[in-house]
Subunit: 896 residues, 2 copies
């Protein structure tokens, strides 16, 4: 059953197929441009072969996607004419190149078989390794490697993988057999099994294979290969793959390629080894290659961490040639790909092979360092360098962290909801947070979840921890907006506000009480009760440089969502070009204002309400003056009151309980009941409030215009005021509210167009559908994609994140929360429609977006492509948005 | 200052304008086809003149809309060339025709001036009456009528109307003057003022006019006319009119016409009179003219009810000729317009004038009687006859009413939320309703508002009264669905469930307690504590005939929303062609099932839950068997569980209060808190439940297929099963749930396509936008326009109806609740998009609609035009929907 090259190997000619089509390409003949024909994996290995030469990459060949399509279209399914011959010829060339024969009894060639479609896709066939082993060649492998155990372990893995992947034998049948043999032999780990045990296991696996498939395990390696190729082709039509293509709108006509590659072994003795390497330091980006390796080991040993690896520099000692060659290869690959590379290598008996290269994942400081160095070295243009950065990771550079040098034990891990680290004494209510801050004690607000009335506590606390909710929970959103670190959804903790205790969910053990120290890292999700040191992020000149490039490239403006002068100043330091959203309701949450706001809401007549509003007016005016001064020379978009009034009142349940005890204010409870809503998100809020209670919006407009006048008179520069009306569904709503704004403006001697603009949020599907009508009443649109996502998808953000996010990710309904990255085919389509209709009616209509998506790089790309004027995001996301906007422009420029 | 015809009157020639354009048309020259040029009012009076002859309609002329447009386009604005001359000529002809002169000192011609655009529109100029009176001609009028008081009253009205309407003098200035003079003279009513007082008032009005406008009241009637015409033209550009046209998408280029018409007087003595008349009996539709009149009176005296009118037949005695002529005229007008007419007439000194004719408003029984008679008489085709009916009024023919012969005093009036009358003992809870019904005592459920857990009480009660909510409140929707009479939002009542009292809101007086009798009429909104007799609606052969016509014409199928075999049978009696929506959750609301449903929800593990579901399965199966049998041969669409689970649990506040008292089940409260949602409408419901808890949907599917099999085996006919998945946003959700349905179907040996269909509700904007993708997974779509309206508009139905409906109607944001009639430019656009995209992908996709809009005639017209296959509505709306669908087809046919 041995096989040796029976024909002289000849270089592959240009067109081998019977009808002139080439079905098979040796790696040396492909390139990364041939992705459609060779698939992603085939194109990449070919590219690496081309760059490094055939001797550095294990040899092999790729059967094209076209062959797959031809196979699937044939009736009955089958290889197209010429394919069998081409595969045979390619295999002969591979045997000639490697000097080994498939199935050879002395020194067998082993190959891997992998699928590889043009677009990576789950559901395709998994890898089969060690193909070529048979009852005969396994002996050759044992002899050649001097390692009988290794040979039988390789063989039993082939039978297992082949049985499962090619013939669909259930994995657990094999796993059960392993368990049985381990029990028989008193072995606790797989590695405790010796060669004899593994030989026995192989025999058992072959029996299982025969029982399950009705066929013996194939002893002809060419049959093994033939069946494996067919299995890859068939997997293109598998349920999961079909499904994946359907939900991603991908064509079924692409087909998948099949890659057949020589296996190399790093475990053939002291001149063999395996490792991973980076073309630069993967943590810092310094221009010094780094990595880890193990002598006499396979790649999986390096990754598994069972043995302690050595650092790349130490490779120079045992294997100086391979070491120097590897450094040279890293440099060549980095220059070729124009990005920092992460490679897998194997040294087989002194000979270096590269198995894979890809762009290196790197933390933010390494990313900006590489980008700046690459431009300085002439490796990349600024555009290309900018595009090597993962914009989303950058805000790690702006926040405090727990000292990386300090080891601590985490109490729990939650969702990394708002970056940065913080520590302080535990408080359970906004009230306690404010008191604690007043006494100069740093505190952390710890709650099950948060609501609008907790916002005063956000201001006062250093950080926020919740046991419920995710990245888009109220706590996460507000914390990100204020730049407060937040860990949300730490479900291992049970937070009992009434008892004033934090307990472990699992055991009920009390781990902390009010006043106890606690710390969190909102960039990692870690929570600890240890006293961990926090460190400031260092100034980063590379980041500053990258931001300058991005600013020069981008077309999108970047504004910030900011509600206070402090936020506004911080946003401006981060490079914000204005305020895209000032949520005036947050001004009423401050402790000194809540009573006035409540008095306004509880007022029984218009007179009383006006009196309460008169008390609020000077406070609002002062807020606005601060904002205008902080943003001098830049636009400030002020949204009039948006949330339903009951958000400013105490919780109904608390009041009912108090009433049952004969405590509390019955009038307050009555009003809370009257104002309570089944679905507050869809209730009496936004401009609906303005229509029902015009006096509230009137007060706010007076405050805005008086503040603008005061600042103009004081500083000599007029603020750029944009008054924004929320939650418009009908043009008429906007008309009524715009008339109100213009009426107050006239009373304050302000002129629309000259002194200010009036526009609207576009945050309901109807507003998008009728944007042309609405545009006649608006100087600008600002897409409120948070609420637009809620209504378009029928998802209440507060409810859905907790209940559905995980099952929906698991069920592949979506691959990211639609509140994090905009749902382009649904919500995005409405944004496009709204923008297009609005500009059709009014070509100079200003278009912005002020939802959470304004700080998300993928969403920013979408907004750039669809012609928006600016994005607005929380202050700490401004640098991220600047980079993402620059990247969007750079990407478009390169595509042109 | 007198004026007499100074030129011989000549008939109007065809083209009078200097440039060949005719700016002015005598009534005798127009017709109803000339609406665009003459406006609606001008075209109608011309048509009436054409039909009845010039001697029967007060003479006059119309200045065209084209003249208005020319006037407004001129810079500066002004009459186009030739218009002044044409008006003068028309006025001369009018003087000649009437034999009176404008401003004449002895027998003056008085005219009215009215605007009239092609489409009726609020905000246009109001009417000016009595134009032509001056200080001189008022004396002539007094002399000619022998009624000095009448003359001065007419004159002061002219000054007041003219001042207000033409010159913009504030009405209250005049009103205050009237009040002052009444006080001076000790008069309490306007009618107490004598001629001298009115002469003084006229002088005061002229002074006010001069002070406010700076001009004296014009004493040249030609100047009066000239200014009035200009004022009408200008009003076309008034704010309200501009606004109205903008929100209704109407062109600004239409312009308005001006109608100048001779005034006639029914108060010139015993041979004069005024009245209203119908061409058939307005209450019954019997072919016998009816009406009311007064001798020596003006039209407003008839309408105001100050004097007791005589019935039309009695006119034959004093004025036999006018009487006979009127009957003849009524017949001619009815034949001409092809509809029952309602006319206003005046007899001036024996001469009959018709002032207006229009289609008569009529109750349902008169409408169907007229339609059937008109076809029998050969007056109308069936199509035309069908279109004379107001479909929305017809369900009055299907319900009990309070005996119209019985006089009663209403305790309060609320919204007529679900038609029909009912009476019984007051109960305040579903539990008491069920107990009462079990004891055979009719009861009425009386609550502030209702929720899902009250539904068992709806079944048990004869009718429902609420103090909150409107036509789209939960109570109204469920009551209409079940055909239970309901009066909602009776805000004069304070309903205190805990105290077991109904009090008057205004005084706090207790008017009824639990067990006391109460009655309601859901067709009128009346509530009474008197023992009123109820009467059944009589069989109506005319209605049956009309329904047969409609069925023969319509293209839309009509199904019913029905959840029980009783509902299904009733729906079938009303002509439903299947069930378009069976809400399976209602099956769990019955008292015997709530405990089992709760056990399922409270189950801590999957095992417990399955056990609870196993207990529910046979009950569901029995329900489905009943439905299938009631609908044998017709399709039954079953929607799997839709509402969030917490709707099946007790109210959280009640549980918290109980817990505070140390009562209740802590585990239940905990679960209620865990399941509670901020916005349940957008929460974990519909197919999201199916994804989280597949075992629930699996149970339901087993019940459906087993029921279908049982019925097939028992009755020999297989039910037409359509399984419907609710609340789909993503194609993948439907894919997962469809796979679940197919899996259970396979277990029960049911084959999709042969034995059943699987489809989805389309009720979220995203589903409409991606309907092509979703269609690949669906055999049918059913538009859930209730939820689609909620999400597209961002309106929570439960919250908005209470808070915003009235202010939004007042503010002209919309003219009907979008939950009653579909919002065509917003929600309707999404329905069109969804249908179009779905059929693009799958041309034979079945399209239905099962929201409340399925029973609304205007919405049905929209669904017909957009190619839906069927509408589904509550059983009692089925006949309405059949007629409306027939009308939609007839209208389309006539438009072809």
């Amino acid at each position: 059953m041995t096989s040796v090259p029976s024909e002289p190997a000849a270089p592959q000619s240009a067109a081998d197929g019977a009808d002139g089509t080439t079905w098979v390409y040796d790696f040396a003949r492909g390139s990364r441009e041939m992705r459609d024909l060779l698939g992603g994996k085939g194109a990449n290995v070919a590219e690496m072969t081309r760059v490094l030469g055939a001797e550095r990459v294990p040899a092999g060949f790729t059967i094209t996607t076209a062959a797959c399509v031809a196979y699937l279209r044939a009736e009955p399914r089958g290889f197209p004419a010429g394919l069998v011959e081409e595969v045979r010829a390619a295999l002969l060339r591979l045997e000639a190149t490697t000097g080994r024969g498939l199935g050879d009894a002395r020194d067998p060639l082993l190959v891997s078989v992998r699928s590889g479609s043009p677009v990576s896709m789950p559901g395709m066939m998994d890898t089969v390794l060690n193909l070529g082993l048979t009852d005969v060649s396994v002996l050759g492998l044992a002899e050649r490697t001097g390692n009988e155990r290794f040979a039988w372990d390789s063989y039993r893995r082939l039978v297992q993988m082949y049985g499962n992947v090619v013939r669909g034998v259930a994995s657990d049948l094999f796993e059960r057999e392993i368990a049985r043999i381990k029990e028989d032999r008193g072995a606790s780990l797989d590695t405790d099994l010796d060669a004899a045990a593994l030989r026995e296991l192989t025999a058992s696996f072959q029996r299982i294979y025969r029982e399950q498939t009705g066929d013996p395990f194939p002893q002809d390696p060419r049959v093994q290969l033939d069946l494996a190729i067919r299995a890859v082709f068939e997997s293109w039509e598998g349920d999961r793959a079909l499904h994946y293509r359907r939900i991603h709108g991908m064509s079924d006509d692409m087909g998948t390629a099949v890659n057949v590659q020589q296996m190399v072994f790093g475990n053939k003795g002291p001149t063999s080894g395996s490792g991973v390497a980076f073309s630069r330091d993967e943590m810092t980006g310094e221009p010094e290659p780094s990595g880890d390796f193990l002598i006499d080991a396979q790649g999986e040993d390096v990754v598994s961490g069972v043995r302690n690896t050595s650092s790349l520099a130490d490779l120079a000692d045992p294997l100086p040639e391979a070491h120097d060659l590897l450094l040279d290869v890293l440099g060549r690959l980095e220059r070729h790909y124009g990005d920092m590379q992460d490679v897998e290598f194997t040294i087989e008996e002194g000979r270096l092979f590269l198995l894979q290269t890809r762009s290196a994942k790197r933390p933010a400081q390494a990313a900006v360092r590489f980008a700046v160095d690459a431009v300085a070295e002439g490796l990349l243009t600024r555009e290309a360098a900018l595009l090597t950065i993962d914009a989303g990771s950058l805000d790690a550079l702006l926040h405090k962290t727990i000292d990386p040098a300090f080891d601590f034990e985490a109490l729990a891990h939650g969702v990394a909801a708002s970056p940065g680290a913080a520590k302080g004494a535990i408080v359970f209510t906004a009230h306690d947070a404010v008191e604690s801050a007043a006494q100069g004690v740093d505190c952390i607000l710890v709650r099950q979840f948060t609501e609008a009335e907790d916002v005063a506590g956000f201001h006062a606390a250093r950080g926020i921890i919740t046991s419920e909710g995710g990245k888009a929970s109220h706590a996460a959103l507000v914390a990100r907006g204020m730049g407060r670190p937040c860990v949300a959804g730490a479900s291992a903790l049970e937070i009992d506000v009434r008892a004033g205790e934090v307990r472990l969910q699992a055991t009920g053990e009390v781990v902390a009480r009010a006043g106890d120290p606690i710390a969190l890292d909102g960039s990692t999700g870690a929570i600890t009760t240890q006293d961990v040191p926090l460190v400031e992020p260092p100034e980063n000149a590379n980041f500053e440089e990258v931001l300058r490039w991005a600013d020069a490239m981008r077309r999108l403006g970047v504004r910030a969502n900011a509600d206070t002068p402090d936020d506004a100043r911080r946003a401006r330091e981060f490079g914000a070009e204005g305020i895209g959203l000032c949520r005036t309701e947050h001004m009423f949450m401050a402790t000194d204002r809540q009573p006035k706001m409540r008095a306004m809401i509880l007022a029984t007549g218009l007179e009383d309400r006006r009196a309460a509003l008169d008390a609020l007016l000077p406070l609002q005016q002062r807020d606005f003056e601060g904002l205008f001064e902080a943003m001098a020379g830049l636009p400030v978009t002020i949204r009039l009151l948006d949330p339903p009034l009951h958000e400013f009142l105490p919780d109904r349940v608390d009041l009912e309980l108090a009433a049952a005890r004969g405590e509390g204010d019955p009038a307050l409870l009555e009003r809370v009941i009257a104002l309570s809503e089944t679905n507050p998100m869809l209730g009496t809020r936004g401009s609906r409030l303005g229509i029902l209670h015009p006096e509230i919006y009137e007060m706010q407009c007076h405050a805005i215009f008086r503040a603008a006048r005061a600042v103009r008179e004081r500083d000599g520069e007029a603020p750029h005021v944009e008054v924004m009306l929320p939650l418009i569904a009908y043009e008429r709503e906007l008309e009524l509210m715009r008339a109100l704004v213009l009426r107050v403006a006239a009373q304050e001697s302000f002129v629309r167009g000259e002194d200010f603009m009036v526009g609207t949020m576009i945050e309901l599907p109807r507003a998008c559908l009728l944007a042309d009508h609405i545009a006649t009443m608006a100087d600008f649109f600002s897409f409120g994609t948070n609420d637009l996502t809620q209504t378009t998808l029928g998802f209440s953000r507060d409810d859905i994140e907790a209940a559905l996010l995980v099952p929906y990710l698991d069920g592949e309904v979506f691959d990211r929360s639609p509140f994090e990255t905009i749902d382009t085919p649904g919500v995005g389509e409405l944004v496009k429609m709204g923008g297009w209709l609005g500009r059709k009616m009014k070509p100079d209509l200003q278009l912005g977006i002020c939802g959470e998506h304004g700080g998300d790089p993928d969403s920013i790309e979408f907004f750039h492509r669809n012609g928006l004027d600016y994005v607005s995001c929380s202050p700490f996301r401004v640098p991220v948005a600047r980079v993402a906007a620059g990247q969007a422009a750079a990407r478009e420029h390169r595509a042109d």
